[in-house]
Amino acid sequence: MTLALALAALLAVASVVVVALPFLRDPEPVSDALDELDAAERHRLELFETRDRALAALKELEFDHRTGTVSDDDYRALVGPLRREAAGALQALERDGATRGVDGIEEEGRPTGERIS
């Protein structure tokens, strides 16, 4: 009984320590703000998703055409719009990158994170 209670108390203390660990490790942080995506970054993420989706679709179409799953006629009808979609996403990303290159200077005061743009 006594041993069980002692172990239980130990477990409770250990749990409190684990939970408090982020505060114990970093008692006075420069900033305690979460590193979250802002509106521009979310937009950029959507552009990346569109780009990756279009490129993956193009790759799959090429392979399906090669295997014969997609006929020549269907391939010709589908490949154009997909290429345009992929090119559009890449151009949008380029434009966005150029804009961010200028705006990014103002964002250097961000608390954490190594910005690459």
């Binding site: 009984m1 939970v19 679709a57």
Partner: protein
Amino acid sequence: MAELGRAALVVSLGLSVYALVAGAAAAHLGRRRLAFSAQNALLAAFASTLIASAVLLSALLRNDFSFTYVARTTSEALPTAYTISAFWGGQEGSLLLWLLVLTGFAAAAVRLNRGWARDLIVWVVPVFGAVSTFFAFLLVAVANPFATQAAPADGLGMTPSLQNPYMLAHPPLLYLGYVGLTVPFAFAIGALLSGRTDERWLVATRRWTLVAWTALGIGQLLGAHWAYEEVGWGGYYAWDPVENAALMPWLAATAFLHSVMIQEKRGMLRVWNVLLVLLAFSLSLFGTFLTRSGVVNSIHSFTQSSIGPWFLAFIGVVVTVSLALVFWRLPRLRSPTRLESAISREAAFLYNNLLLLALCLTIFWGVVYPLLSEAVRGEAVVLGREYYDFFLRIFGLPLLLLMGIGPLIAWRRASLRSLLTTFRWPTGVAFVTGVVLLALGAGSSVPGLIAYTFAAFVVATITLEFVRGTRARKALGATSWPGAFSSLIARNRRRYGGYVVHAAIVLLAIGVAGSSAFDTVAEAKLTRGQTMEIGDYRLQYRELDERIAANATEIRAELAVTRGGRDLGTLEAGKNAYTIEEQVSNEVGIRSDLLTGEDLFVIAEQIDPDGTVYFRVFVKPLVNLIWLAGLVFLLGSLITLWPDAREQRRLVERTREIGVPATN
């Protein structure tokens, strides 16, 4: 040690509440250290639940009957393996297993994804906290496994039908499946709460959903095999409410695994996918409720308890809050693209989804109908096998056909001319199969014949896909044919692993159709020396043995079996009389022909004191393909689940490109 177990559960409850409250506050206020602290609370809750589980397991293994749970579910004579399985055999233990797996999955899912989806994870933690709070609360306040009493001399033992090797794996796998569906649910709700409705919650949860889905699938097959061997009625699936309880979330998860591809490839069905995840999780809670509350009559329900109202209330809260969140975030969930053609791969997936959902809801209606009829008319009306079989044919056969059609249609749109060319081989194979089977007499069951014809169509398309793909890989520079084949799978594990899973479903369909539509049955009351016949088989009842096992008296009738004059050896069928449990179980005799997949299945229905035995005998063609399907299903799932290093690199790279650090 019961005090330690109780304390560990209270600590788990406290940590879960902290993960919920602190996690929600951190997400709302944008506090980094508080968010990490809440994440640590989930990890600590897992450790604490692990300690509680160790205490219970230790009590079981020591036969410590001062634990009420141990005394109620085990006995001194119970073999050790079943003593371990008593952990999940009773109500409180199974809820503890739920909490253990849940906190373990939560800690792992948060840990694995917090690098590249940190802003999303912050909102996921309180959701995990909320679900684990519910289960920890149940264990602390309603169904405590650490209740104690003055220790009796021996325990009450375990229900005989649970004393089966399949019970060592079947329930834990189902729980892995049920609990695993919490992960996509938590990420979906986290995405809705945070407004991060981009693809990351899908990518983060795809493998978790697959793990849960695989566990549910294999768990159900093991359960079916248990029913086949142990329950002794001659079948493997009886549309029992508790069996259906596991099938419904599996169907919803199957629909999700297909429709998620449409979102990833085309950016469509965003609302639909969120709703499917919510449905799958709600059904997994409903399944646990059905199994554990004792609210329905079932051969698989071994408990009557008071947790029902708590579960219903929790399911109500989950459904209401989830739907409110979906409604709130509808503007963010609108798809940028539309379905371009009714003849396209995404359209085929959509039809597949509608059929899966229709089957799922039909089963749901069959499960709740007795409860509703009892509430309204005061009499529980049970929808029988005919109801379920009818809808299985209506929705299941088109689903089978779609498995063959979907992979051969292009995304976006396909021309009719192209389809005619693509499908000429599979259609030809299906047609020839149908004609041959008809000539062989398979026309006695029209649904069976259709199932086999469609199965041939699907097998042809899968084979065609593998052959064409391997040929293309070889042309693209693979050095050998095996190299081309492995490169084909390695470059698109989801697609080709999916085909292997489709092959498993075909095997399952063939096995189910063969054993249910084309089986034969014979009954006879025999005295020693007498014979009976069924199909080509001839069975002679030789003698009746009685022997004492560790915890039961075993009575076995020995039968000599011949087929077409060829000696096939002997087969035993009988009953076990369990002394401590004071129950009798049927112990069937099964002779499997691994070449044809056929089973000879013998039940000793009634054994008279003079040694006369009333036998019921089945011949079940192709039934072993059902169990083989389980192995193929597992193989396909493993191929699909295998980590894709290129995809991981792409995700990390994408995160870096946006400007968020990819690691902590």
